[in-house]
Homo-oligomer: 327 residues x 2
């Protein structure tokens, strides 16, 4: 079943207004969830909407809160998200980083006490749409063991890097686990194996069996010790600058809340678009690993999905869609 | 065979002065190579010194060149390395980024036309020693296939992130391949297997056999598609900002030369050291994956090796050491 973007957005907005979000926040959140589905990131679009609604109903998110400027350390701006809506906070923070970068070449907004920004790529596209390079990351609750350990002590701490480009921005959006828990559950429900090792089973052996990983809680960091180290560093950076909650602090409370986020933008008038095209051509110039296979740059598939959605509507999970219609 | 730090450094300096490096550059390079061995990074210390000497003899590196300031885009400074000595250029660039960060909270020096900086971690420690957060990365020649491709089109583009800490800085220094070519060769010479999959064999199967990977030239990016994407993005960032050589451009010439590098520093008076200690304690608080195993933070092992070297001297490969003595 395919639904036009505007229909999806309209329903989301109706539900959010009913939950007493002000017009501006309802509009932004509805747009963001619909855009995530439109871009093919279904796990962070329609499929995530009901659990987002729950965080509002259960008052885990303060729908009235506005982010507040705390202090300026040179050109670093520290903001407090006041436990408000993650999408709203992150959008404002990235807008401020864009503004700073356009004035100074660089802008860094570091925010503490905010909430889940849903899909990190949203803010990468936002920066690139404004003509800026965007680099942003967030910490999360512990959902990945550090290298050498058995129990989750690190977040999957997604990292987003985006660069503006005329024929479609280049946007990398990656978490530090090889596969998200959403992907593990999805693969498990379909009775399939993962395409690569995704974690360890209860006996400490690498496995492609999603259910074994869900049970052991030992999801694999990308590149073993390397992704473990990178996830650790992102949490350290966030905490050293914002003074906010680290993954350790987030895990000492019941539910993920009050995470810390970085929004770094770079801007200059000449971004050397011709040289960027050269990199893309060169990267794609090798022979495919599989017959008929393709080499894609980060963000290329997002744009394809977006165009497909614009032509044919957004494929939706009917069960969840009907659930939303009844909200 | 163990050699004191000062003896190693003295020999390196003697050789470099004989090659007509000025006192300041000979001192810096000798110190850096000796420190790399002292920190246990033997591949980038004594073992790398003879090939560094060759780049000077073959005039691949211009020992007389000094980096030049090109332009300021807001607070971004663009420098040209003028194909000089990579260690010298990178040290000056990081010093400038530190200076900018201490004045403005953030400093970014982006350098084009420089040369191999040898061990990236050097500049991470430099930033942290100056009380700054350091983030730096470089591009390289193509030595890793992009995800979905067979031939090398991406560099392994090392990324370094460092955060100052009283009891020992936290420093991550990671390349985007699961194992370096140095590690593959070393493991192959010892007739051993890699501890994890390190690439593909000629038939496109994942393998732990280092010689099969050296032959196929298909080293594995960390986290498959993720490390491939991250490596690509670092090259794009470097090229978009500096206008210098991308991996594509580096590979169109005979030898790796004129690479591009980023040196980003952050500084504020309060780096929340107590919260950083909380993260370290929490990360280490899980049970080890292997009996008797340990969970280490990035940089912890470097500091241990450094202290061992200071106590017992630096273990050296006697063949290479004798080679240097005869230079």
């Amino acid at each position: 079943m395919n639904i036009p973007f505007e229909t999806l957005k309209k329903e989301f907005k109706r539900v959010l207004l009913k939950l007493s979000l002000i017009e501006e926040k309802a509009e932004l959140c509805a747009h963001t969830f619909a855009a995530n589905s439109r871009d093919g990131v279904y796990s962070h679009g329609l499929n995530r909407f009901p659990s987002f609604v729950n965080t509002i109903i259960e008052k885990q998110v303060d729908i009235l809160a506005e982010p507040a400027f705390i202090e300026r350390n040179g050109l670093i701006e520290i903001w407090d998200g006041n436990f408000g809506i993650g999408i709203h906070n992150a959008t404002l923070a990235m807008n401020r980083a864009i503004e700073l970068a356009k004035a100074n070449g660089i802008g860094l907004v570091a925010m503490r006490h905010t909430n889940h920004w849903i899909r990190g790529g949203t803010y990468g596209w936002q920066a690139a749409d404004a003509g800026c390079i965007g680099i942003c990351f967030t910490n999360t609750m512990a959902n990945m063991p550090p290298w050498g350990g058995k129990e989750p002590r690190l977040g999957n701490n997604p990292l987003i890097i985006s660069v503006p480009r005329e024929d479609g921005h280049i946007v990398l959006d990656m978490a530090m686990t090889q596969f998200s828990y959403g992907k593990l559950q999805d693969t498990d429900l379909k009775g399939l194996e993962l395409p690569e090792f995704g974690g360890y089973d209860a006996n400490g052996n690498l496995t492609k069996n999603p259910s074994a990983i869900i049970q052991s809680r030992r999801a694999l960091p990308i590149g073993f010790w390397k992704g473990s180290g990178l996830s650790f560093m992102l949490d350290i950076l966030l905490t050293a600058i914002t003074g906010g909650r680290s993954t350790a602090a987030i895990n000492s409370i019941v539910r993920e809340s009050g995470v810390s986020q970085f929004f770094l933008c770079l801007h200059q008038s000449n971004m050397h678009q011709d040289l960027i095209e050269e990199i893309i051509r060169y990267t794609k110039s090798g022979s495919p690993a599989e017959p008929g296979g393709e080499i894609l740059y980060p963000g290329e598939n997002t744009l394809r999905k977006r165009r497909e959605s614009e032509l044919h509507g957004i494929p939706v999970n009917e069960k969840i869609w009907n659930e939303v219609l009844k909200m």
